[in-house]
Symmetry: C2
Subunit: 297 residues, 2 copies
């Protein structure tokens, strides 16, 4: 033990995952804690990870690695959609997804629908790195139930991003069939919806269920992976579905991507293509549910 270790308590917070795994972070101090009608929200400063957001004890983001999730949920569909002007984000009250969406100059309007005002309050106060984007004039924030919102709105969007937590608690209906029928309705004819689709290793049944629902609403359904630091198991997935026939590989707008000038930290053209190559076990488990890619040319 070093002298420093003797002088100071070491506080750890552990996310418990499926009763078999714990992922723990060393907490310097707690910045924000509260309970809304939906969930408990905590924001802490964690040694080596910066500020971290927890919903009901599950890690939502850390400042250290949030760029992975936020680049991958947004740039993949936005460089496949032909000319994305209007984007709808369901959930994602931390603002990280909106921040990446706004890096696309074609985007004129981005609507964020977050069910829980406490997420917005906590992140606006303590995680400006992601939440500052919510003050951009192109952004409209609505504190509403996303499921109800897509059921009732008559507005249309080029891209919908479902930036949800796990399919328990307030996010559960975001994994259901009624929600995706409505998402289809609010999408433009060649629109794309990308959704947080859980862990490749631990949640293959959830992935099958989500793809089955998407397959009933959309002619083209894919899944892609990304590696982040703070989610259990590291390798997580997003689903990709297009209402028209935009293929994420053949219809990637490589010219726009090459000219965009965005200094990506995770994403890029090769990274985009590689993300759709799934480990053999995952590919096999989801066989029959994924649309083959179009051949190029």
């Amino acid at each position: 033990m070093t002298p420093t270790a003797k002088q100071r308590l070491r506080l750890w917070v552990h996310e418990n995952y499926k009763e078999i795994l714990q992922v723990g972070f060393r907490v310097e101090r707690t910045l924000f804690s509260g309970e809304s009608e939906f969930q408990r929200i905590d924001i802490v400063e964690a040694d080596g990870f910066g500020r971290m957001l927890f919903n009901d004890g599950a890690v939502m983001l850390s400042e250290r690695d949030e760029f992975v999730y936020h680049e991958m949920i947004s740039h993949v569909p936005l460089f496949v959609a032909p000319h994305p002007r209007r984007v709808l984000v369901i959930g994602g009250g931390d603002g990280g997804t909106v921040r990446e969406v706004l890096r696309h100059p074609s985007v004129e309007y981005c609507r964020l629908v977050e069910i829980d005002p406490l997420v917005l309050e906590g992140c606006r106060k303590h995680i400006p790195k992601t939440a500052a984007s919510l003050d951009d004039p192109r952004v409209e924030v609505r504190v509403e139930d996303g499921v109800k919102h897509v059921a009732e709105t008559s507005d249309r969007f080029d891209v919908v991003l479902v930036d949800s937590s796990d399919p328990i608690g307030p996010a559960a209906p975001l994994f259901g069939p009624a929600f995706y029928a409505d998402v289809r309705r609010v999408l433009a004819d060649d629109g794309i919806v990308v959704s947080q689709a859980e862990s490749a290793f631990y949640e293959i049944e959830t992935q099958r269920g989500l793809l089955a629902i998407l397959g009933r609403c959309f002619p083209r359904v894919h899944l892609y992976n990304y590696s982040n630091l703070t989610y259990p198991g590291g390798l997580w997935s997003f689903s990709f579905a297009s209402k028209g026939d935009r293929c994420p590989i053949a219809d990637l707008d490589t010219r726009r991507l090459a000219a965009c000038g965005i200094d990506f930290r995770y994403y890029g053209e090769r990274q985009h293509r590689a993300a759709f190559v799934l480990p053999a076990f995952q590919e096999r488990a989801l066989a029959g549910q994924l649309t083959p890619h179009k051949s190029r040319g």
Copy 2:
């Protein structure tokens, strides 16, 4: 609390990583514990992960996800080497790497050089899933210091696999320049060496150091990634260096791979290629140290 939880103690073991992260597994029972002159070895039965091997408290493998590491360390070089007959494994006393090497019918001889007899003893008793391979007649096990072994042997190998633990403790010299000069010597003219190269997120400096050493010994140096469940941060890397000019993309033997009949759980042709696409931050950090791929055809 459920009634079951009341009846039973819950035991957890946590790997401490860099004082900022803990990864914990629920232990059903301890199967093996001992201390050698090199390190402490523990084998436990963990809920949801099967049997797990720890060296000095760091996870080496779990039965649940060991297939990822072992397929990726072995098949990538073995499908690029033109006709691999003789393979040298340094470390890897659990036997998982040897098991995958033996799935290649061209391999006539595989030598495992493990420094610590306690690893061999523990795995042979308690992890037959990987260690059973060590009894194959094509395998010779030597209990020796791998660094000394490559310095002294006059034998030659088509592929060398450095299946080491972290660059602290007994594995530290396996990340050094003297070792790789000797590896170069024992390799056939078109031979390939692949080495465990630590975490993409946490150990970029270690990766730079290793690639710099490899770059002084080999004309062609690459890095590729894989995602496993039980190593901190999920995304880890292997280095790839060839003494001749075998490129892991252009010289992949797709015909042999397509005909091999191995039921991979992680690996495959597309997975092979995708593994060499690194996240943008890693690619940038290692720029100048990685050899460009040959153009095909």
